[in-house]
């Protein structure tokens, strides 16, 4: 199959599209991590005393913790003293008008294809952009505030809505939850905060764009979304980073909190720099994402398309505490070259009649390793809990690996849990069928992969679905195993 090899070659040698840097003047913390760094960040952000204390508590806990080694990924150990924990574009963006935003920054976003003005006009998506570590612009703020929706940068939320932050920060992901969550809690620099009041259906998609620009920096942002009774919000998150030879760490925390009858839909298209084709450079994406369905009949839905990062290690999870609450997880994870992904979800059923659904589609090519790791835990009092999990893996090439590690723990006899997983490659008969009908090999593979991932892509909001499809095609199109 010389053609497929040629196509594979072409695809695998494709360069990372977002690999440029912009000369933004940055205001940085000195390299390294100690209590001073934590205090520096807190002081920079002009934070109240209680938040500094909270950070310091997390930092002290983190010092005692050990970096976990259980995931199915390998990487050289991280030197936590060789990271800049705070880096902000120097010219502060004024939030009142886009005209005041640093023109270099506007260019950055234009290159990303998320020109803020454009977005505002055409798509009606409200964007909060986080560059390096600091939130630089939030669009559509006024329109949202008319409905009582709070959507702003984390630092702003700390200033303007301390009571909400105090109540919900760390309520879903406690500071000692895991090594990277503790690190994030100590040094997080910014992020987004969103509050949807009672009974409000957010009229537009809310969106955050993350980008690591400066060298040697880590990005530690925090997202907190609270949906009050009967409200609904759809939230999008996208990420890119420049090409660099060294690895960069991204350790974010995302907390979702839904009350009675509320629903949060959280979508991610993750396209951090994956490293070059020899596995050099790339982002370590070690993220803690968790949602708490606190109220009855609440719902949290995670959708993720993971195409970037040298190493992806994250498990967007749902704690189904309220009765009749629903958790969903839809994921497409693509790995190529030397990328490694260990991703999946946890569904913790606590309330009665709780339901969860997991659809995970892994695609591995090149010399990459792709793992699904998930847990479905039905607690004692979660009567009539229902789960269906489906984990499919597609292998392209004989040097990659696909792994599945599902944990199913059931303590209630009325639960119905189903799990199925398959591993295969693109069938030669499927390719043949397409060729027969005049569809060339490359288009055939794109078609089949798209069909394979359709179930997940369908869950994405329109704007993201297009981007995700392009990303998939870019990474894999034509690579016949």
């Amino acid at each position: 199959m010389s053609k497929s090899n040629q196509v594979l070659e072409e695809i695998t040698s494709k360069e990372y599209e977002h690999g440029w840097t912009v000369n933004l003047e940055a205001d940085e913390a000195p390299m390294g991590l100690n209590e001073g760094t934590v205090r520096f960040i807190s002081a920079k952000k002009g934070e109240p005393e209680w938040l500094l204390e909270w950070r310091l508590k997390a930092f002290r806990l983190w010092q005692k913790m050990i970096e976990p080694t259980w995931p199915n990924v390998t990487y050289p150990s991280i030197d936590y003293q060789n990271i800049i924990y705070y880096s902000a574009p120097k010219k502060k963006a004024n939030l009142n008008s886009l005209n005041e935003v640093d023109p270099e920054l506007i260019k950055t976003f234009e290159k990303l294809g998320i020109s803020l003005t454009e977005q505002k006009r055409l798509t009606g998506v409200a964007v909060d952009a986080v560059i390096d570590s600091v939130s630089v612009a939030t669009t559509f703020k006024e329109k949202l505030s008319e409905l009582g929706i709070i959507f702003c940068s984390f630092s702003e939320a700390v200033r303007e809505h301390p009571e909400l932050i105090k109540k919900y920060l760390g309520s879903v992901v406690p500071i000692n939850d895991n090594y990277f969550a503790a690190l994030n809690s100590a040094v997080f620099s910014d992020g987004s905060f969103c509050y949807i009041p009672k009974g409000i259906r957010c009229p537009m998609e809310l969106s955050t764009y993350f980008r690591i620009n400066a060298a040697n920096t880590g990005q530690f942002e925090r997202t907190l979304i609270v949906a009050d009774e009967g409200s609904y919000v759809s939230y999008l998150e996208g990420c890119t980073a420049p090409m660099r030879d060294e690895n960069q760490l991204h350790a974010a925390v995302v907390e979702l909190y839904t009350m009675k009858d509320a629903e949060i839909k959280y979508s991610t298209v993750q396209n951090w720099y994956p490293g070059d084709k020899n596995g050099k450079g790339g982002i370590y994406n070690f993220v803690t994402k968790r949602g708490l369905c606190f109220g009855d009949r609440s719902k949290i839905s995670w959708t993720q398309v993971e195409t970037g990062s040298a190493i992806t290690w994250k498990y967007p999870s749902c704690i189904l505490k309220g009765d009749n609450s629903v958790g969903e997880f839809y994921s497409v994870a693509v790995t190529n070259n030397y990328q490694q992904a260990d991703t999946g979800t946890k569904m913790i059923h606590i309330g009665k009649n709780t339901r969860s659904r997991i659809v995970s589609k892994g695609i591995s090519a090149g010399k990459s390793q792709n793992s699904y790791r998930g847990q479905v835990h039905v607690m004692k009092r979660a009567s009539n809990a229902r789960n269906h999990s489906q984990c499919d893996s597609l292998l392209m090439g004989d040097q990659c690996g696909a792994h599945t590690f599902p944990y199913i723990d059931v303590e209630n006899n009325s639960a119905r849990i189903e799990h199925e997983a398959t591993t295969s490659k693109i069938g030669e008969d499927q390719i043949f069928y397409c060729l027969q009908r005049g569809i060339d090999e490359e288009a055939a593979v794109a078609l089949i992969v798209n069909g394979y991932a359709k179930e997940v892509l369908n869950q994405l909001p329109m704007e993201f679905a297009v981007e995700a499809q392009k990303l998939l095609a870019l990474t894999l199109e034509g690579s016949v195993g």
Binding site: S393, H403, P406, N413, A415, I417, T422, T423, S424
Partner: protein, 433 residues
Amino acid sequence: MNTTEARDLKHEIIESFDLSRFEVGNDQRAKAMAHFKKVGLPDIKHEEYRFTPITKNLEKNFKWDIQVSTSQIASIDSYLIPNLDANVLVFVNGSYVPSLSKVISPASEVKILPLIQANAEKEISNLDKYLTPESDPFAAMNAAYWQDGLFIHVPENINVSKPIFILHLNDVTKSQALVHTRILGIVEKGSQLSVIEKFDSVGSNPAFHNFSEEWIVKEQSQLEYCKIQNDSGKSYQVANTVIHQSDSSQINTFTLTLNGQLIRNNLSIIIDGENCESHFYGLYLLNGNTLGDNHTVVDHKKPNSFSNEMYKGIMDGNSKGIFNGKIFVRPHAQKTNAFQSNRNILVSDSATVNTKPQLEIWADDVKCSHGCTTGQLDEEALFYLRSRGISEPIAKAMLLYAFAGEVLTPIKNETLKSYLDKLISERLHKNFE
């Protein structure tokens, strides 16, 4: 022994290890002990023993006293499978008892020797080639401590006509028992062998049986293997089984777990040949406080082989069912077909199940799948039976029996099959005819 204070059992085990007690295999024993010193006993943080607190149970219930307890058992008839025409080999508290055993197959068909004797006569070159001390802490402990066992050897192109029935009986009427036994079986090229193992105990003291076995199944040969764990006493067991397959070999295994306090089976199948076929079935019907744990591994190392696994469980009372099934497909093991299914039914409110089917695949041209379910009996099926005038308990029993009975299909020996069928129906209170 029922002390609450912390006990360092690992230390006791290491301290009481005395090479001069053993006659054979001392190099291997010393090596295994050295490894055991490194790894110790698994606690519940150990990924493979997350739900199986075996170490805690051993610390709570046993004195680490390796003196072999004596036994006056004179008859074993009640532990045999009725009407089964087989070679019978009996171990009591880990020692081979020739007076209770009976070998009927001619020596030209199969050579059966106690392991100590086989070692002394230099019949065995390497005892732990496939079941290495590194594979499991209890395998290491067994390799250091084994008392006796069996060496079974089938020469080339022989169909061993009579099955081999091995009875492991622990007599705990007077005191507890700590038993370490192992088996090495080799089925040479083109031969066929059928083996049945049964575990039982007499008396009310606790028994711990750490059992290891290796089966080497050479080219074009076949092995049928059945394990029956129906020990109603206070028995704790860890069984490490490794089956190594060469080209075009075939194996069928069946594991039935019914009773015991804590039963842990590590079954690992190394498919180190092309065109092999492996079927392994398991059934765990648990009640009371029994904890039944099946860890299986299928390791596809060569292309073009087929494996099919089906484990089913019904948990009643406070029992805990644990299943972990790993399928590995190594690089270049192309055209592998591997299937796995694990289905569980929780009957009572306080029974639990923890299952983890796991696929690790490094080859692209494969077909691998696993399925896993946990649930209750189908309401509609139950309603169907009820609407035809069948009482609820009987309808339930019928459905459970149908659920469980599927795994018996591959068993070829009719006497064995009907015996197993009887055990299953008794357990499920199937009182309909």
